[in-house]
């Protein structure tokens, strides 16, 4: 009985250990395929300016700038971050869509004469 319990415990350790190490990879792979979005900002556009994500999972948005620092604000949410200027790194934000729908994002840092054109749409399905 004692031997069985010991073997059972060790098996549990091995299985849980494998699961614990495998799960983050699986999550990262899933995000890389569907829930990680990379956006490049420059005067006066985001690329891509429209993208689709699954509404039932958080989306990791990675932002970089090709020129000055820009903002990234999703209207109707508390997401509002600064994208560092060229050569100063990037910014990452995680957004969980509260429900399926279209979410408009825009530059929240005045960036030039065409600042008002810097908008895009996140579509959560």
């Amino acid at each position: 009985m004692s031997r069985t319990f010991t073997l059972g415990s060790l098996l549990c350790v091995v299985v849980c250990g494998l699961a614990a190490t495998a799960r983050p990879d699986a999550r990262a792979a899933g995000q890389a395929k569907a829930q990680v979005i990379e956006i490049a900002a420059e005067r006066f556009s985001y690329t891509p300016s429209e993208f689709r994500v699954k509404a039932d999972a958080p989306v990791e948005i990675r932002l970089s700038s090709d020129d000055t620092d820009h903002g990234f604000r999703i209207l109707g949410t508390d997401i509002n971050i600064i994208i560092p200027k060229r050569g100063k790194g990037s910014a990452t934000v995680t957004f969980q869509p509260p429900k399926p729908g279209r979410y408009v994002f825009e530059c929240s840092k005045l960036c030039g004469a065409g600042h008002a054109f810097m908008r895009g749409t996140l579509i959560a399905e």
Partner: protein, 382 residues
């Protein structure tokens, strides 16, 4: 054995705990948002040294520009751009100008359809809507973006704009027309801008742009502007003006490429020259068509260094403000020009640019020489 049981059970519990994302801290969190601001101020400056061949060098604080924006709500916002040119305003453009280049209200109705009214930049060419000094090579703007597309080109009016999906964007405005009374042979339509100052709007002009920016680093667009510009003449006669333009811009990593083509037609140019000649005593020899194009390549030979970036560039331009003449008129060949501009930009910061270039100009005249120039500039955005 009991110890082995305890250790195994403990490790199993730790592993089970690791499967719980909440305990493992697997949920990434967003950085805290900066304070919400509904009014923002920003701007750019442009300080130049120009040494024209055979002339003394000149220092000029070319542009001091302040942008002020205000967001009334997520759907209504105000944008303005106020510029002092050449540091001093004395009432004549040669001395300086105080210009309200933008002052409009945007009504953001839908992604595909938004309404704008007020003082607006004409959506023509690369530079007119995108002219902050650190983002273009060369101390001065391209000749084509000065003499064929008269940047900074701004007029009062109203229009619509939006993005129709996958990187396609459009603008379409109704604006005040150009004033043909101010057209010249050397600078074409440039002096005809009414600039929103008690403008004649008897026959509004129409302008628009379709643009694709769906691939990172690539922007390609085509623009037009068309209007009737003879409203100051009595008896009144038609001077239809049409500007068409196409441009492409690509930048990725260290490389930046640009190209632009612009063409302007001026209808009834012979009648216009006659009327202007009777008014001022000299026939101005205004052309019936103007044309210009350029190609530019820039490359950051140093990028990401602790002291900043350095980029080299070369631009070839061809611009002719006497491209086609009305019947009975001969072109002034000195105004059929081309330029080779080479130089570098040093960015100690992405928003600060120290520029140097040498502009070699040629023209088709066998009598009149175009003069080369050496230019130094300091431009910054904040």
């Amino acid at each position: 054995m009991t110890n082995l049981h305890s250790i195994a059970a403990t490790v199993a519990l730790v592993c089970l705990a690791a499967l719980d994302p909440a305990q493992a801290g697997a949920q990434p969190t967003a950085p805290p948002p900066p304070p919400e601001r509904t009014t923002a101020i920003s701007g750019y400056m442009d300080f130049h040294f120009n040494k024209l061949e055979l002339e003394d060098g000149r220092l000029d604080f070319h542009r001091f520009v302040l942008l002020v924006t205000h967001r009334f709500s997520d759907r209504i916002r105000f944008v303005s751009e106020l510029e002092v040119e050449h540091a001093l305003v004395e009432g004549l453009e040669e001395a300086g100008e105080l210009e309200l280049e933008q002052a409009y209200v945007d009504f953001l109705l839908a992604r595909r359809f938004n309404v704008r009214a007020g003082m607006m930049l004409m959506p023509v060419g690369i530079i007119n809507e995108r002219h902050e000094p650190p983002i273009y090579y060369g101390v001065e703007r391209p000749f084509v973006d000065t003499l064929i597309v008269p940047t900074t080109w701004f007029e009062v009016g109203a229009g619509v704009h939006g993005e129709i999906g996958r990187g396609w964007r459009y603008r379409a405005y109704i604006t005040s027309p150009l004033n043909a009374r101010e057209f010249t042979a050397e600078e074409g339509i440039r002096n005809g801008r009414q600039k929103g100052a008690d403008t004649n709007i008897g026959r509004p002009a129409v302008t628009g742009r379709l643009e694709y920016a769906g691939v990172r680093g690539l922007t390609a667009g085509a623009s037009f502007w068309t209007g009737h510009s003879g409203f100051e003449f009595r008896p009144r006669f038609e001077v239809p003006v049409t500007v068409t333009e196409a441009d492409v811009r690509y930048s990725r990593n260290r490389l930046e490429l640009r190209g632009q083509f612009a063409h302007t037609t001026i209808g009834n140019a012979a009648e216009l020259n006659g009327a202007l000649g009777r008014a001022v005593g000299v026939d101005p020899n205004v052309a019936s068509a103007l044309r210009g194009f350029y190609g530019e390549a820039g490359y950051r030979v140093i990028s990401g260094a602790s002291f900043g970036d350095v980029g080299l560039f070369a631009r070839y331009e061809n611009f002719d403000t006497q491209y086609r003449m009305p019947d009975g008129y001969l072109p002034l060949k000195a105004l059929d020009r081309d330029a080779l501009v080479v130089g570098f930009t040093y960015w100690p910061d992405a928003d600060v640019a120290v520029k140097f270039d040498y502009s070699a100009l040629r023209n088709r005249s066998s009598v009149i020489r175009s003069h080369n120039s050496l230019n130094l500039g300091l431009g910054w955005w904040f």
